[in-house]
Symmetry: C2
Subunit: 211 residues, 2 copies
Amino acid sequence: MFASPPAPQKAPRPVSSTSDIENLIELMAKLPGLGPRSARRAVLHLIRKRALLLTPLADSLQIVAETARECLNCGNVGTTEICDICQSEKRATGELCVVEDVADLWAMERASVFRGRYHVLGGTLSALDSIGPEQLRIPRLLNRVASEQITEVILALNATIDGQTTAHYIADQLNGRVRLTSLAQGVPIGGELDYLDDGTITAALNARKEI
Amino acid sequence: MFASPPAPQKAPRPVSSTSDIENLIELMAKLPGLGPRSARRAVLHLIRKRALLLTPLADSLQIVAETARECLNCGNVGTTEICDICQSEKRATGELCVVEDVADLWAMERASVFRGRYHVLGGTLSALDSIGPEQLRIPRLLNRVASEQITEVILALNATIDGQTTAHYIADQLNGRVRLTSLAQGVPIGGELDYLDDGTITAALNARKEI
């Protein structure tokens, strides 16, 4: 018989140590866009602006850690089971905009031109990373198109190879069941031809319009 | 007579709103090195890595918000009245390294070549911003040199105009009371002459050494 091992005792946090600050720097350095040097700079900035920034940021992170969740309907990030956009009466048009990622949804919202609702796939199809339709929210999309009063699906996927592959797959699945559109391709506003890639110029020329 | 206005009632935090997340993005965007776009990216990253990053970061910020403080002796940032370096028996040499900022102290510590103690000025003299010796930790420095067993003061101020002005002022004040040195100036390790400014090349040539 073995004696049961003593329960691990939680060591009291040492009162006199700078390791709390080093720990914070290490965590901050894991954020995208920050490295070890900028994390140190950010932490010093935070400590200098304790009341204005450090405490509010700590509180805000705590709140978001407790409340943030994915919308069960569309995959948007919010603080409720069904997100504000899905809940909104004003957005209940038959238009559904399909995006890869929550960041893309936010980008569309900043343009504040689209008044319908969204569907966030959570990525793109990728044979290399063995991401199939089941790993994304594609079954749920087909489901929504069948059960909600959807009249048009706008594919707003990124103009990358993976994005376009995914768009083709979805278009195949929905073919004939609903009106399908995608974002126009062409010269971006403020863009200079000299700096554009050949693909964009080709797309813009092919989609040229009467003035 | 006026009736006293009704006491403002603290509104309960709305349960269903994405404004918590927007609030967090706004706070993150105030960090040096992050703008609105990278703050959004960072917040999405945090929400995706809730257990690994978001909760630990919230806890760590809370701890630092409660415990971080300036060392009463040298101005370093730590979690105790007197910082680890000032307390350490191993560092009790007579050498005192004067730096502008806590970030500079950390940079010196990363090189782990200096075994004495520090004095953080908290900035540089600047007539334009009306920062005189009293606004920095210069009186405290003179005090320390007089009362502690200091044998050498190493001026490790930045090689900027403000930094060198401050170094000259301190050198004037301490003249004759202690050995005064400053960091060597020259070609940085790995530096290519072609990319160096004239001032650095001049300094390196003037301080040239026998091989």
